[in-house]
């Protein structure tokens, strides 16, 4: 029963994907995204979808395809279409009402040996304010985050600059092509307490001391010529004025708390 359900789910996911692919074929008037996939056999590709609607109900359409080169980290390219006339106008309208521009990718694993189980159900989504995308002339930075075993866990999109100042974008050409920087980020390994370098440093320190006998001398051995006269002087003055010394000692005790 469970397997049937999983199967049907996979089927439905697949059918949606094929539908999307066919859709993209229709509305694609720029570069053909299929080409890149055909030329690169070692990697695989994942659709990147976006949505920007006046009523803010997400309706995702294909934006491009993320192509991963197997085996190499950060080996990701984004092949994407130009925005059509209609899309450009919608984008400007959405920006005017401070709507959201959303993107999503399916949950996949980037590891080549897991390609069979790569398609798990569900998407990960992120958003940016449409106005900031328009004002930055479609220059965005998309980052895919993976976990330790290469599953994509999060996507983030920011525009540079990221602000919405209400600047009108007159030139239609500025909104045609995305200027996207894309990267894949894997988790960094957190540092552990660095005992070995510390011990090494200590040993070096000790060695240095051992080499330089001047350093090995104690504080007293080095400065006895200054300390002894000082002590003598203090003792002499103390003997002369017994009562003053006693009073001083009392004050010292009181203040020492």
């Amino acid at each position: 029963m469970a397997t049937i359900r999983v199967l049907s789910l996979i089927l439905s996911v697949l059918s949606i994907i094929t539908l999307l692919w066919t859709q993209s074929g229709e509305c694609n008037n720029g570069r053909r995204i299929g080409d890149a996939v055909d030329t690169d056999f070692s990697g695989f590709s994942v659709p990147l979808e976006h949505s920007f609607e006046i009523d803010d109900v997400p309706r995702f359409r294909l934006r491009g395809a993320l192509q991963f080169r197997g085996g190499r980290e950060n080996g990701v390219y984004l092949a994407q279409n130009q925005l059509s006339e209609k899309d450009r106008n919608t984008m400007k309208d959405v920006a005017a009402v401070d709507g959201l521009y959303r993107i999503r990718v399916p949950r996949v694993s980037l590891q080549v040996d897991r390609q069979t189980e790569r398609q798990s159900e569900g998407y990960i989504t992120a958003f940016v304010r449409a106005c900031s995308l328009v004002e930055s002339h479609l220059s965005d930075v998309i980052t895919l985050h993976t976990d330790v075993s290469g599953n994509v866990i999060g996507i983030s999109i920011v525009t540079i600059p990221g602000s919405c100042r209400g600047i009108e974008v007159e030139d239609e050409v500025d909104l045609e092509v995305f200027n996207t920087t894309i990267s894949v980020v894997a988790p960094v390994t957190a540092p552990v307490p660095e005992t070995a370098p510390y011990i090494e440093r200590m040993e070096q320190e000790m060695e240095k001391k051992g080499k330089n006998p001047q350093e090995q001398k104690s504080f007293f051995a080095k400065y006895w010529m200054y300390i002894v006269p000082l002590v003598l002087f203090l003792m002499m003055s103390g003997a002369q004025d017994q009562s003053g010394g006693g009073a001083g000692g009392g004050a010292g005790n009181g203040g020492g708390r």
């Binding site: 803010d56 989504t125 958003f127 920011v158 990221g162 919405c164 957190a190 660095e194 510390y198």
Partner: protein
């Protein structure tokens, strides 16, 4: 030379941060309360008349001795948590207390006067069933422990095992009870459900089975509560379905079935659905039990019965009665019965009126049909059922408390040989009340505080005069002259108050210091000059709320919430602080069932503990998330948003004003949800119509790692400095994102080489993963603090088997992207992340950071340890910029050179010898003084203190020499006056010359 400088730098920095309590400061601004938990067993020491000992064993695995005159602890032993330290049985004979611990794992004997361990015996495995003292010829010599499949006998004085025997047919028969009447035999009683009872007879000397018989009992479902042995070896059982009592002499051979006595023949009936309970008493383990016993027929009906010549006769019927207990002193055995006071209301109320005692508190007791104000406890002679004269104790029930559920009686012989007694009553809300005649409360313990779940600290209200002054600003202006008059009048009131204060100071100064200490009561509560005294609102797992004065630890109010499920989750929210006079402060408690997620709100005033009459929204759907907005309604209450499982939002309070404001700000209200079972974090945005839309989603696959904790930053945290000044005088700006969430995960693979801890820093508005790190070869439990621009976490290094600290700090860099305002939507550049790790040479149970008013004071980390110490660790030691090699610039910055091991110095323990058992949480709150942070540590005990992370830079020392400084000042003043005069004279003289 460089090494010397390094050492000097370290010692100087230590000198700077070193702070400890002086001997004369002990107890000056700190206090500790010790608790034991819910009492499961309580035994009075009846060994000698003058004994004050009360031995208790509790569900918190605590075994303690209380002083029955004061309620203070003589000694306390805190065992391991969980089933390993569970106390199964407590027996007492003479000076020895025998305890079975950990489901029959250990048998221990304690010396009761000082609490020293006399002996300990490790028992064979097997689940514990029963334990009993065994006497031979009027002398108790052994203790018998019954397990599921074996019985063992131990010597009481040495703990050595005398013999151990396997029980026959233990895989089918459930053995549950041991009985010995002091005649050299031990009976083990077991049964096969719905079939028969098995009685096995052992010889005490060598454990030989003397006899084994089985008796038909098809009705039997449990031995423990429905059966008892009475009167020289008669087994007595009660059954609800057949409405009968059954008796069987244990020793006689001829009886093969139990004699049935219908309850109808005694004119008795068991309440439907109630499992009747038999209570017998065996005053001396070396002698057979008494022939008298209690039979509980319904929750409020007990009857005292007697077995005599194979006949059962009722001695006295107690209807209604809540609790009944036997007690023995010397040769006399008495029965104490708690009855509602209303049954004798006719004549008692008259006497009450005559005595001008008027009880106006009516409450619903026991959930039944009694409107009750008090219960009375009476003493009856056990053998006749006659009431002892003048033995009534009146127990006034706390209107804010629960109903009584346990009664422990301490009987003693008076000088005239009559029986006197004291009782200890335990109520549902875990209050222990010790009473003596005629109803005087000797002491009281609030054991609910042994299990504090969450707490908040609320400022105390202003005094009347201060409030008057405040009120002046709150009101709308009505003309110039009235305002001037109002100002003058309020100033006059202030002057008057000040004079009164001075007079009081002068008056108090003449009195000896000890008598000045005035009691804190709820009426005299007012804020002190530096806001150091606050109200601690504590929520306990049993559903009782407490208001505690932070200065003295006095419980000022308490409120028991009935019908709280035992596995509820509590969230306490301060909606309105004390700052909005004349509106009272307001706290809201969200009570959520752990399984269903269904919740309810309880709104109350945190200063007086009174329930607020504000209408509370009904929450028909499970609550997933709560969100306290800075939006306030016209009554200055912050708006609380509750998100249900259909992502619909309920606002509380939901006035028109609030809804309007919410509509205006809806597009900037974001919230996040965590579903750790699917590893899903999702972000939502509020819509105008209070529905929500999903805007981001991050899915961390649960096959690899599972989310264990998500924490944001504290809303009341202030950061004074935007950046750090570096050695070369440039500034490194902090990445201060108030929406940042720290998500901690643990790997599902627990192999020590492959296990890891994941750290994700996620922006709660955009869902952007700001930083993602993996701590390899690490394992939980992870404790962490997320504050300012840093995250400190502790994990277990499974490779090196030690605890390690790691600190992450986030910086924007040398320039700020937008220095005026922070917006998660407009901060495109990722922050620079610095991280360093250290070894911490001690285990950790909880972690928290200090908090001060303006955030100027340097931060310390408060580390709660299983040993009960609280370590105040300077954040300076947890700084990822600590250099490996010391340089001129790092010295300029006061950075301590990196050392892999974190030092632990004993003067950093803020609670000196006042250890806190089982630390579960630390709460920090700012005070009115920037240097001072209030700290409350809770666990089994509660400890309150103040910490000064940067020392008391804004306070004069206690021993500050006022006389010296003022005399110097005056001296200088007069010297200038005189010299001025002299100079004038000299000038004049010179002019004349």
């Amino acid at each position: 030379m460089a090494w010397l400088v390094v050492r000097l730098a370290i010692s100087l920095s230590l000198l700077y941060t070193a702070s400890a309590v002086f001997e004369d400061q002990v107890g000056k601004f700190d206090w500790r309360e010790q608790f034991i938990g819910k009492v499961r067993f309580a035994l009075f020491d009846t060994h000698s008349q003058a004994s004050k000992k009360l031995l208790v064993a509790t569900d918190k695995n605590v075994f303690a001795s209380l002083n029955s005159r004061t309620g203070d602890l003589f000694w306390r032993h805190v065992d391991k948590t969980g089933p390993e330290g569970h106390i199964d049985a407590l027996l007492m004979y003479g000076q020895d207390a025998v305890v079975v611990v950990g489901n029959g794992r250990l048998l221990r004997s304690w010396e009761t006067t000082v609490g020293g361990l006399k002996w300990e015996a490790v028992l064979d495995t097997g689940s514990f069933q029963a334990a009993a003292l065994i006497g031979v010829q009027d002398f108790v010599k052994y203790v018998a422990v019954l397990k599921k499949s074996a019985i063992s006998l131990h010597d009481l004085s040495s703990g050595s095992q005398i013999w151990v025997e396997n029980l026959p047919d233990s895989d089918t028969v459930q053995y549950q009870t041991i009985y010995s009447g002091g005649n050299g035999l031990v009976f083990v009683l077991g049964f096969v459900p719905s079939s028969h009872i098995v009685i096995v007879e052992y010889k005490i000397e060598d454990g030989e089975i003397m006899k084994k018989k089985s008796v038909e009992a098809a009705w039997m479902s449990s031995l423990e509560n429905s059966c008892a042995v009475i009167s020289s070896g008669n087994l007595l059982c009660v059954d609800q379905i057949t409405q009968s009592l059954y008796t069987l002499p244990l020793q006689s051979a001829e009886h093969t079935e139990m004699r049935q006595i219908h309850l109808q023949t005694l004119d008795l009936e068991v309440a439907s659905g109630f499992q009747p309970v038999l209570t017998s008493t065996q005053p001396n383990p070396a002698q057979p039990p008494l022939a008298e016993f209690f039979l509980q027929l319904s929750p409020d009906h007990h009857i005292l019965l007697q077995l005599k010549d194979d006949l059962i006769a009722p001695l006295r019927d107690f209807n209604p009665s809540y609790l009944a207990a036997f007690a023995t002193s010397g040769e006399k055995t008495v029965a104490a019965v708690m009855t509602p006071k209303n049954d004798t209301v006719s004549h008692i109320s008259k006497t009450l009126f005559l005595k001008k005692v008027f009880l106006c508190i009516y409450l619903y007791c026991n959930g039944l049909f009694f409107l009750l104000k008090a219960c009375s406890i009476n003493l009856f002679s056990a053998d006749t059922g006659r009431r002892h004269l003048d033995t009534t104790i009146i127990y006034h029930m706390d209107p804010n408390g629960g109903k009584p559920n346990r009664l422990y009686v301490h009987a003693f012989l008076k000088k005239d040989d009559s029986v006197g007694y004291r009782v200890m009553v335990q109520t549902e809300d875990l209050t222990l009340t010790f009473l003596q005649q005629p109803g005087r409360v000797v002491w009281m313990r609030e054991e609910a505080l042994a299990d504090v779940v969450t707490m908040e600290m609320v400022d105390l209200p202003l005094t009347g005069t201060q409030a008057e002054l405040e009120g002046e600003f709150g009101k709308k202006a009505d003309g110039l002259l009235p305002m001037v008059l109002k100002r003058l009048s309020s100033q006059f009131i202030l002057l008057q108050a000040w004079m009164a204060h001075l007079w009081k100071l002068f008056y108090d100064a003449r009195k000896p210091r000890s008598s000045v200490k005035n009691e804190v009561t709820i009426d005299t509560l007012s804020r002190d000059e530096f806001n150091l005294q606050k109200m601690m609102v504590m929520v306990t797992a049993s559903g009782k709320l407490f208001g505690i004065d932070s200065k003295s630890g006095t419980v000022l109010w308490k409120q028991y919430l009935e019908d709280i499920q035992p596995n509820s989750i509590f969230k306490l929210i301060v909606q309105r602080t004390t700052a909005h006079f004349p509106h009272p402060p307001q706290c809201t408690l969200l009570i959520k069932d752990k399984d269903t997620g269904l919740g309810s709100l309880y709104v109350f005033n945190p200063i007086f503990g009174k329930k607020s009459h504000i209408s509370v929204p009904a929450l028909p759907r499970p609550v997933l998330q709560t969100l306290l907005l800075p939006v306030i309604d016209q009554d200055y209450a912050k708006v609380l948003l509750l998100i249900d499982d259909q992502y619909k939002v309920t606002a509380f309070p939901s006035t028109k004003n609030v809804l309007q404001q919410l509509q205006d700000t809806a597009s900037s209200v974001f919230f996040y949800l965590v579903d750790s079972s699917q590893g899903k974090l999702s972000g939502f945005r509020l819509r105008m119509d209070l529905s929500t839309e999903l805007i981001w989603e991050v899915v961390i696959p649960t096959e690899v790692q599972k989310i264990v904790a998500v924490k944001g930053k504290r809303a009341n945290e202030h950061v004074h400095s935007q950046g750090r000044v570096m050695g070369d005088r440039s500034v490194l700006y902090k990445y201060l994102n108030p929406n940042l969430l720290a998500v901690i995960t643990e790997s599902t693979d627990m192999h020590q080489e492959r296990s890891f801890v994941g750290i994700f820093l996620i922006d709660g508005v955009t869902g952007r993963i700001v930083h993602e790190a993996v701590q390899r070869k690490a394992r939980g439990p992870v404790h962490f603090v997320h504050s300012e621009n840093w995250l400190v976490y502790v994990y277990w290094n499974s490779k090196f088997r030690r605890n390690e600290f790691s600190v992450l700090e986030l910086f924007e860099g040398a320039e700020l992207y937008n220095s005026t305002v922070f917006s998660s939507l407009d901060r495109p550049h990722p922050p620079q992340v610095l991280q360093q790790s250290y070894i911490f040479p001690a285990p950790i149970s909880t972690l928290e950071a200090t908090l001060t008013e303006k955030g100027i004071t340097s931060r310390h980390l408060l580390v709660g340890m299983p040993s009960g110490n609280i370590l105040s660790l300077p954040k300076m030691f947890l700084d990822p910029r600590r250099p490996e090699l010391i340089s001129e610039q790092s010295r300029e910055e006061n950075l301590i050179p990196y050392a892999p091991e974190m030092p632990i110095r004993t003067e950093w323990f803020i609670n000196y010898n006042q250890t806190v058992s089982r630390v579960r949480g630390i709460y920090t709150a700012p005070s009115g003084l920037e240097s001072t942070c209030l700290v409350v540590v809770y666990g089994l005990d509660i400890y309150q203190t103040r910490v000064f992370p940067s020392k008391q830079f804004d306070v004069l020392k206690d021993d500050y020499d006022y006389i010296l400084i003022s005399s110097v000042l005056f001296g200088l003043f007069f010297a200038t006056m005189i010299s001025k005069r002299l100079a004038e004279v000299k000038l004049l003289n010179r002019a004349w010359r």
